[in-house]
Amino acid sequence: MLLRLRALVIKEILALVRDPRSRIVLIMPPLIQLFIFSFAATLEVRNNSLAVWNEDAGAASAELVQRIGSMGTFEEVAYVHDESAFNRQVDYQKSLLGIHIPQDFSSSLAAGTPTTIQVVADGRRSNSGQIALGYLSEVLEDFQADMEPGPAAGAPAVAVRHWFNPNLHYFWFVVPSLVAILTTIMTMIVTALSLSRERELGTFEQLMVSPLTPSYILAGKAIPAFFVAMAEASLIVFFAVFVFHIPLQGSVLLLYLTMAAYILSLVGIGLFISALCATQQQAILGVFSFVLPAVLLSGFAGPVDNMPDWLARLTVVNPLLHFKEICKGIFLKDISLHAIWSHTWPMLVLAVLNTSAALAIFRRKFS
């Protein structure tokens, strides 16, 4: 029986490799996407502009402005001279933040009377705005401390250490996540769509009439898909490590073992979708209905921590989330075996459940 399975697997791989369209689809898009999205997907606050409306002519304000300018958070400082220009900068999204220093700033400081600086941020980019405001506040605090009379005691120091990613390179977060995401799309296409295409072409009937049982036929689809997906994922990992120089702290073996579990879960889902769907069109919609929510709820764009509790708990059924966590963990953190397992067993459960369901559906339809 195993030899028959081997014939199936060889056929599948040949069909994939000999189809010029498949060849292109399997290699090009993931690599292109890897390159572009790695650079694009960042939540860092960079390249922003600060609008400065300084109505004061004194030294103090000049000093403050200079300090802010050298902060590094802002690439550009735009100087405006009236209220409408100031408002326009933020309204028209030319600047992320705007500072308005009143006319009596330097004189008030010298006299020791209260004075207020207005800081305006673009609420449409409230997230970046808040982070930039944080940095700005620090500068202002330092400035104020320096301005106060008395010994330059200095404010208490705060040490910040970002473990696992000291410079907070967004890359290091994005690329491992992309390993998971791009593998997902490829695997779903190869599994779900190819099975429904075979049914539409009619060769599937030939298989059903042969001595192969439904389990072997599904295995004949699952195994090649598995290997192709593993190859794809390896390609992406290769690029991650050797081109993007993402550190790989944990064990490669564990990465591959968990990758296998993940791909198994995806293949199971793919088989399930194609078992349910009679036509290719339905299979396409099915794949979309899985991939889109999976990507959105994986924590890639919005952290799981920020989701409402009920939703956060639901994400346990999202294999993409688990594998992403594992990838991140193995690449950057060398996370514990316990943590790895806590993400692996859901994937295995999904693999088993979906594959059994697919098998059950096939058996029911055909006998």
């Binding site: 060889i10 040949l14 069909a15 009439v209 042969s210 001595p211 339809k365």
Partner: protein, 579 residues
Amino acid sequence: MPEKPILEIEGLCKSFPGLDHRALEPVDAEVPPGRIMGLVGPDGAGKTTLLRLAAGLLTPEAGSVRVLGLDPLRDAARARELTGYMPQKFGLYEDLTVMENLDLYADLRGLTGEARDERFETVLHFSELKPFSGRRAGALSGGMKQKLGLACALLSRPKLLLLDEPSVGVDPVSRRELWRMVHELIQEGIGVVWSTAYLDEAELCDQVVLLSGGRMLYNGPPRELAERVRERCFRISGITTGRRRLLTRLLDREEVVDGVIEGANLRIVLREPDERTMLESEAGEKSGTVHPVEPRFEDAFVDLLGGAPPGTSALAEKIEEKRHGEDARVVEARELTKRFGDFTATRAVSFGVRAGEIFGLLGPNGAGKSTTFKMMCGLLKPSSGEALVSGTSLSHAPGEARQKVGYMAQKFSLYGMLNARQNLEFFSGVYGLRGKARRKRVDEMIELFGLADYLGQSSEKLPLGIKQRLALACAVMHTPDILFLDEPTSGVDPVTRREFWSHINGLVRKGVTIMVTTHFMDEAEYCDRIGLMFRGDMIAIDTPHALKESVVSKDLEKPTLEDAFIELIQRWRDRKEVA
């Protein structure tokens, strides 16, 4: 005064990138008004290409095509007004009702106001679709769809009507009605081009353009072509047993150009008229008598193509004789019923196939043949009833039972991306052949079927005849006892078809049981017994000869199988109405 031809084709050529031969070699033809021109040939001959060129859907590579003097490309607007085109699959929107389809085409062709209402009336009446105008096109039967397609093509009162295989797979009653409709149309002076793969339809046309592999083999009245083989056609009747063996022997002979089974008789075409004596002595051994018969278009076609291949099948020679009990019912259907929702595809269908017999399921598309067939193969679960092969249902059967079954699907399901050798290796692997035995078998198949020259190409690029051979090879590699063949020869040229049947005949002589489905009447003649299916019911089961005899009457002295079918359908309907 000769009238201006409606369609003129001169030196028309067309190639497509990726095909190594031209789709159309220079073709010359003319369709005068009020005539039907038959465009005849197997799949891939170039029929559709020619029609599309005439409709202005393709650009000629060389030569010209003119519709009433207009160029369909340059004078597109005017040419389109004068041309009605019905593509394969009829060009209907299945989700739309009959009326909505008609509305769409009427609007597209600029038919409005009173003229439109009038035309709708005429066309609906003509096609007998008036009572169904609110029904979804997808819910119509094959024959009705065909008529609707024709109706849509007729809306703008075209002068030229291009019909692409309008009668394929349709029941014989509807086919006859369509011909009647078209004959009425030509009274009005319309010129019709009717493309078909059915050679018997060629004889109904005023003139025929015979295409094969893009080349025009003949252009003229069908009678004239048939005349070429006058004096050379004979029927051998009264054979007691072993007509297949006789046929094989005859086909092996040099002097015999073509031979087919016609029910209980054989029909032979000789190379020379005076070989008759040889024929008589051969036939005499089987107590058969030889009579000359009227030549048919098909006879001449095969002659033109070089004649039928030899009768002995090298493949069949190689396999062992299958042994089994005399009357063992190898394949059996008991009250097979299949319902899809509230649509009943087959109703209590019962039949049995004896070992070593060729059993054919005959009927138009939609009759329930494929459904029945799939239930027999274990691909569909019956709603009620049983489908048994060697005593067990294939769907519950373990692998060993399936090991004895071979299957060839419609349109030869091969893996298009794989080449011939890879396909052979795949199927042999799936059926459990391994190691040296497997390699030997694969090599054998390549040699027996002459596939050596085609090994490198992806199988989807192979010519249709080669694909068929490859599909058959894949189906028999594991030497099954029973073969299921679903429309195995649809669309192939007659020579390839005969070769295929010589293999089948050889296999049957070695004791293989064969069940085949077809909608070709003449192919049904090659079977030992046939089951006629119509709209889900099995209306008759018997040998082709007996079926024909059962409808002999004063008006029908020498009925063809098609006549028999039509008559039996009529009787069936009458019986149902009474009941």
